[in-house]
């Protein structure tokens, strides 16, 4: 037979865009109703095609005030007084409705965000539903959570979420807030407001009392206005460390309770006795999942020198099999970068890697003609002092550094102002525990990476923020304790 390898091109397998029930215009959700905003409407685009998806109302200062007042009313009159067992049933309903509308939400998320449909379908939406389901059960059991016999809610929560997991982050914020008895005004990210507004529709379908959840689209100024509104008792923010610091500063002296989930520059440490093939999978998952738009991404690979060449060879081959392209295609592994601005930032940092002398390798994958895409990239010969080893790139770019001893690995891993997550790959159990104990990071994945579960607290050390989301520990953020 011929020695030529057969060429097997996978035919396009796109999920139908119609499933998203995309509407030409979306309105904001205040006091149980969809209303026109008085801010300048924004146009949300599909980052894979650069086409406008829909026009979305945004909130003005007055709208924010209206929403916060609605949330306050709902808190005082209904939600704050409702028995936990009744609150629970509303939150359970939301979980079920998300499950029922999974496919629609997944397609809409991929359209608006650019993430591959297999991720929105298999990760974002199911995990969002799981967060509601998990927290619903807490609503009538808060007295058993270790915060005293009858912990009280805080009141109105102002929540600002990022564009990387739009629905999932909304769930992480809203579910514990409601379970603990707070009401919510949430601002989704400017570039990804759509699924949060469908979630608002779900709140309506769940018959959630008016004002308990309010969704106000808008840009950073709306977020700033919201968190600084005098009627807000609690602020939760997920996003960049830069903005997190601004919020912490602006809330100084107000007594508002604050939790921050910020950036990261996680080390993924591969020891010479690691299960190499699964380590490669974990590295790929760690940095190319969601185009690397993950605060806990394993963006720094620390590999023991004795296996560095072997690992890198395997890694490059594996990365070359990643399929980049149409986010709605079920076979796409790497979708679109969420925005032009983010693409520019990734390019700029990548150029700094070149100019600082790191060795760049880029996947030879074909690139689409339009849309915001960035080919998976691996920098080797990276040194601690380079920008690509220190700054969060928030894109599909991996920096590879080497180490010789476990002590050196730990020292390099911890040598960052961040501290969100870390990865450890070794077959030696005692070394896992030794290393995990020394990681200055809120989440440590050993022989796995990027696993999320509502029962497992998530959050950072140091400049990666404070407070936890998920688990018993996550309730503290929404209780007056």
């Amino acid at each position: 037979m011929s020695g030529e390898p057969m060429s097997w091109e996978y035919a396009p397998a796109p999920e139908s865009r119609d499933i998203a029930n995309l509407k030409p215009a979306y309105r904001m959700f205040v006091d149980g109703k969809f209303v026109d905003g008085t801010g300048e409407p924004l146009k949300t685009i599909n980052p894979a095609t650069e086409e406008v998806l829909a026009e979305v109302a945004t909130a003005s200062k007055a709208d924010i005030d209206t929403a916060v007042r609605a949330a306050r009313r709902a808190y005082d009159k209904v939600w704050g007084r409702m028995p936990g067992a009744e609150r629970a049933k509303y939150v359970f309903r939301i979980a079920r409705l998300i499950q029922e509308r999974t496919r629609e939400l997944a397609v809409l998320e991929s359209l608006d965000n650019g993430k591959p449909i297999k991720e929105s379908r298999d990760v974002d939406v199911p995990t969002a539903a799981a967060h509601f389901f998990y927290h619903a059960g807490w609503a009538d059991k808060l007295g058993h959570a270790g915060y005293g016999p009858n912990p009280r809610p805080l009141g109105v929560a102002g929540q600002v979420i990022p564009w990387n997991f739009p629905l999932l982050m909304a769930a992480w914020k809203i579910a514990p807030a409601l379970a603990c008895g707070n009401t919510v005004v949430l601002k989704p990210a400017e570039t990804t407001p759509l699924t949060a507004l469908v979630l608002a529709e779900i709140c309506q379908q769940a018959d959630l009392p008016a004002g308990v959840v309010n969704i106000l689209p808008g840009a950073g100024d709306v977020g700033a206005e919201l968190v600084n509104h005098a009627g807000v008792d609690k602020v939760a923010f997920t996003g960049s460390t830069e903005v997190g610091k601004l919020i912490q500063r602006s809330l100084a002296g107000t007594g508002k309770k604050l939790t921050l989930e910020l950036g990261g520059k996680a080390a993924n440490i591969v020891f010479d006795d690691a299960p190499l093939d699964q380590a490669v999978e974990g590295i790929v998952n760690g940095i190319f999942f969601n185009q690397g738009h993950v605060c806990c991404a394993g963006s720094r690979l620390l590999v023991q020198e004795s296996v560095a060449d072997e690992l890198l060879a395997k890694l490059r081959y594996r990365v070359s099999t990643l399929r980049l392209g149409d986010p709605l295609d079920k076979n796409t592994d790497v979708g679109a970068i969420n925005s032009k601005a983010q693409l520019d930032k990734i390019r700029e940092l990548t150029e700094s890697g070149d100019s600082e002398g790191a060795q760049k390798w880029t996947s030879p994958c074909p690139m689409p003609d339009k849309g915001f895409f960035f080919a998976p990239t691996v920098f080797s010969d990276v040194q601690q002092s380079m920008r690509i080893a220190r700054e969060e790139i928030f894109g599909p770019v991996l920096s590879v550094l080497t180490f010789r001893t476990p002590e050196e690995a730990v020292a390099k891993a911890n040598n960052t102002p961040y501290g969100l997550s870390a990865g450890i790959w070794t077959e030696k159990g005692s070394r896992i525990l030794w290393t995990a104990q020394r990681m200055r990071a809120g989440v440590v994945w050993a022989n796995t990476f990027n696993r999320f579960d509502p029962t497992a607290p998530f959050g950072g050390y140091q400049e990666s923020g404070f407070g936890r989301e998920g688990g018993r520990a996550g309730l503290e953020a929404y209780l007056d304790v």
């Binding site: 995990a436 809120g442 989440v443 440590v444 050993a446 796995t448 696993r451 497992a456 607290p457």
Partner: protein, 287 residues
Amino acid sequence: MSDRVSVAKTYKLYIGGAFPRSESGRVYAVTDSRGGFLANAAQASRKDARDAVAAARKAFPGWSGATAYNRGQVLYRVAELLEGRREQFVREVAASEGVKHAESVVNAAIDRWVWYAGWTDKVATVLGASNPVAGPYFSFSVPEPTGVVAALAPQSSSLLGLVSVVAPVIATGNTCVVVSSQNRPLPAITLSEVLATSDVPGGVVNVLTGRTGELAPWLASHADVNALDLTGAPESIRAELERAAAGTVKRVSRAGRGGEPDWTREPGVDRLRAVLETKTVWHPMGV
């Protein structure tokens, strides 16, 4: 009794297990509650604060790496030594605070060390968890010390308040830079002498005396400080300190807002929780 002239004590700072004078050479007069001169205390400078943070950071790996059982014994030892110098503390607290019930305050301070000594090896059980994640993983969460904690000790309660602020910080494995009560610093320095002769490693607790308002901003903005306890911060600068703390996303404990807490009440776990991070670890389960 006798006409013997007593030997007066020089009150210095406590940094890294040593008792240096302020590098600035400054002192300030400390008076009793009726205005009578008690002693000159060292008036620490920003450089002393910097040295104290460096000492606390240096002590952190060893102290946080010690077993909880060991830390419990070390804290209990502090109570033992305090008990032995009970009368000295009663005199100093009485002089500083002008309270009639100095004895009960000192008793409570000793008992507080005992209380926190018992917490060292329980807090992980109470605040940690095994997480029943939906997948073939073993996931657990453990509380871990946040690192170097800068604490502003309460201004009124010079010993019990101080102990209530410091003990939970070190019980959990953190190291500490504490600014004593500005006008009532003497019990803090005497406590340092207890710490220095106990088994608490040098640098785990560092005590600065001086002007809270002068030292606090340097600690609040210091990039190697992980958490800031505002308990004894003057109302006028609390917001400013919070703003400074935001520069490196410090954990800020706002205790003492609107007045000093009642230190005689059982503390609960709030102060332990305030200086702990939750670390979640995942591992697959397979053969």
